[in-house]
């Protein structure tokens, strides 16, 4: 797979030392670029529409098919300077809540996945399946149940109850098992058991094996799960708007949702500007972590 070394783009690749014909070279890589570009256009096209709306002075979302007909930064300026809607505070809240949730979800999910992957115990198979199935319950009444729950918790742990950021994190962590555990479980299973058996023979305890051998090997999946949890909590507004009541404590999603949640009074311009700004950290995070996700850290290496 490493025959071509040039830096040219797209399908035309002159100067390749390959013995392949142009047609074959195209078949090898050029079609990949075409497919990639098609996929990118598909992914981008609605977002460009949103970007255009965020730069439009009219505050409407779908009024015009002339993209970028009028360009102004007014919506962005509005968003960042309105004391009534402290965007930067929301941003900070979102980062705090999502990072805490991501770390917690990774720790709990990985621990559970380790248990399912390495220990044999009663209810193991059933437990694994139950974790997945419980999360399938339709959350139609969650808005009542979660409120009542946090209201009761408020009486005991005020810092974990209603209108508390940590309380919201706790709610999110309620979903830390389930799909996350599965994602990790499959990955943990690909790490050969001879590794821990050898370590056990050598006197290592289960927690040492977990922290010093297994976890470093499964970094890619930890990163993936961490990021999925981060994004899920970053974009949630249904639960967040039940828990958080004080504008100073809002997350980005809750705060921004206020701009468009009133019929006929939607301010799409400011909302899309906010949505685009709030997508930036998520995308940066992805770029930052991309090499972990796809690094091939374990790759074939662990195969003993």
């Amino acid at each position: 797979m490493s025959t071509s070394t040039t830096s040219t783009v797209k399908n035309d690749r002159p100067g390749s030392r390959s013995r392949l014909s142009a047609g074959q070279r195209f078949a090898r890589r050029g079609w990949k670029h075409i497919a990639a570009v098609v996929a990118c256009v598909f992914a981008l096209f609605p977002l460009i529409y949103a970007f255009s709306a965020s730069l439009s002075p009219t505050g409407s979302l779908l009024g015009s098919n002339d993209l970028f007909a009028e360009v102004t930064g007014a919506n962005y300026q509005n968003l960042l300077t309105d004391p009534q809607n402290p965007f930067m505070t929301w941003f900070g809240n979102s980062m705090f809540i999502s990072i805490t949730t991501a770390v917690g979800a990774v720790l709990m999910g990985a621990a559970a996945a380790y248990a399912f992957s390495r220990f044999r115990f009663k209810f193991r198979g059933g437990g694994l399946m139950s974790l997945l199935i419980i999360q399938m319950f339709p959350q139609l009444l969650a808005f009542v149940a979660i409120f009542l729950l946090l209201f009761s918790i408020s009486e005991v742990y005020p810092f974990l109850g209603l209108n508390s950021r940590l309380g919201l994190v706790a709610v999110y962590l309620g979903g830390a098992l389930g799909a996350n555990t599965f994602l990790m479980y499959g990955f943990f299973n690909t790490i050969p058991r001879d590794l821990d058996e050898a370590a056990t023979l050598d006197g290592a305890s289960h927690s040492q094996i977990y922290w010093t051998i297994i976890l470093p090997l499964v970094t890619p999946i930890l990163v993936v799960v961490g990021m999925l949890s981060f994004i899920a909590s970053f974009s949630d507004f249904l639960l967040a708007q039940i828990v958080l009541q004080d504008p100073e404590k809002y997350t980005l999603a809750v705060g921004l949702y206020q701009f468009v949640s009133v019929q006929f009074g939607e301010n799409w311009g400011v909302f899309t500007a906010g949505a685009i700004l709030s997508a930036i950290p998520v995308v940066l995070l992805f770029l930052l972590l991309q090499r972990y996700i796809v690094s091939g850290l374990t790759g074939g290496a662990v195969k003993g």
Partner: protein, 435 residues
């Protein structure tokens, strides 16, 4: 001193641990360590619960108000005055009101944790009252200062529940640069619209906000009432009963008119609020049937417009729905007397009402505030038209109406069947749901 000694003990224990050869701790040692850990923490927190409980009862009184972000600036001014007079703090929860927010309020109110006062359009009142989550608010003589429509809208089952602050209804917004025609009937409006399409290259005879999936009976209601087909029967006090009044001859006439509007292409269900507003603002239409909420953008664009009543399509007066924005007091408020005082004695003041108008740009509900906006001809016109409007029904049965009404109107406009047949089926379906 127990925490310190326990810590010291654990420290001692740990220091001896490291010298041990075996990696296994004896069970008894582990248990001792566990107990020590508990003791440490028990000691550490024993004083905490008392302070926690004490904190619950202490502190100055507070009233919480849930409102939208355009309402809060005015409310802050009013609250400042109130706090200065009474010492009670006012806290704001910024939340735009929508169906989910109403559901949240209804489910949260019985726990005593919902806001003391909420702002809501009056058509939620029936649902709020049926759940027992709003308290009656007696306006007394101050009620006289509000327009008739505003007063009627906050009455449910003969009891007055809220303090209104704005009355909104749809009207006809005309682009004066395109035409100064003041059509007598809706057909005259369409004729003028078509003339402009032919002569001035305008794209649409008129624009009106619709929804491709749900329809928009609200914006079409003035046309419907001009055929005499009101949604529910009203008693002599103007209160709605749950007997549907849309059926029969008048309803059929409106259905046929809708079908005609659709056939001619004048009315399109695909014209969403964004598209309707944008088209009007870019001069693609001379007439725009819209509520006062579109004025903000229209004024920002410096358009030369007039606000007129929607001309009738049938033989009667075209009466739009009136939506009244009002403050409601939580029946399970955490500070009910203060909340009632703030609502009945502060929010009703003319200067408060004027402040709400200035902050929200909504046509006021108070006669005094209407007097005070002489230099705002557009909203004055809206306020004038709102006096002829019919309050949106607040009765719970209305919930059953919206979905069938909108989708049926869409079906008729799109020519998905015989208009009269579709209309009759809709009436039967709604009546089936109400029972």
């Amino acid at each position: 001193m127990r925490p310190v000694s326990a810590l010291a003990w654990i420290g001692h224990f740990m220091s001896t641990r490291t010298t041990e050869e075996d990696n296994l701790m004896t069970p008894s040692r582990r248990l001792v360590a566990a107990v020590a850990g508990c003791a440490l923490l028990l000691a550490g927190c024993s004083s905490a619960p008392t302070t926690g409980v004490a904190a619950l009862g202490v502190g100055p009184g507070e009233v919480t108000i849930q409102a939208g972000d355009d309402e809060i600036p005015a409310l802050r001014q009013i609250a400042e005055k109130y706090t200065a007079d009474t010492g009670v703090d006012v806290r704001f929860i910024e939340r735009e009101i929508n169906a989910q927010a109403i559901s949240n309020f209804i489910s949260q109110s019985p726990t005593g944790q919902a806001p003391d006062i909420i702002v809501s359009p009056h058509d939620n009142l029936g649902q709020l009252a049926a759940n027992g989550v709003v308290a009656p608010v007696e306006l007394g003589d101050r009620g006289e200062e509000f327009t008739q429509n505003a007063r009627d809208a906050v009455v449910y089952n003969g009891v007055s529940y809220g303090v209104p602050y704005a009355v909104e209804s749809v009207a006809l917004v005309r682009n004066n640069d395109l035409t100064t025609d003041d059509p007598e009937t809706f057909d005259a409006l369409r004729a003028e619209g078509h003339r402009l399409m032919n002569e001035r290259g305008v794209d649409y005879p008129f624009t009106v906000s619709q929804s491709p999936d749900a329809g928009d009976p609200y914006h079409l209601y003035p046309l419907q009432t001009s055929f005499g087909a009101e949604v529910f029967e009203r008693d002599e006090d103007g209160e709605y009963s749950s007997d549907l009044a849309m059926g029969g001859q008048s309803g059929h006439a409106f259905a046929r008119y809708l079908a005609e509007l659709g056939r001619s292409g004048d009315l399109r269900t695909s014209m969403t609020p964004d598209i309707a507003k944008e088209s009007f603002m870019s001069g693609e239409s001379a007439f725009h049937i819209a509520g006062p909420w579109d004025l903000v953008d229209i004024e920002a664009a410096d358009m030369n417009v007039s606000v007129l009543p929607v001309p009738p399509a049938g033989g009667e007066e075209a009466r739009p729905f009136a939506g009244v924005q009002a403050f409601f007091v939580n029946a399970n408020a955490s500070n009910p007397v203060a909340a009632q005082d703030f609502a009945a004695n502060y929010l009703t003041r003319p200067e408060s009402q004027t402040a709400m108008y200035e902050s929200t740009d909504r046509p006021p509900a108070s006669e005094v505030a209407i007097e005070n906006m002489k230099d705002d001809p557009l909203r004055s016109a809206y306020a004038e038209i709102a006096t002829t409007a019919l309050p949106m029904p607040a009765i719970p049965a209305m919930g059953a109406v919206w979905a069938f009404w909108g989708t049926t109107e869409n079906g008729i406009v799109n020519g998905n069947g015989d208009p009269v047949e579709l209309w009759d089926r809709m009436v039967a379906n709604i009546e089936g749901q109400i029972q």
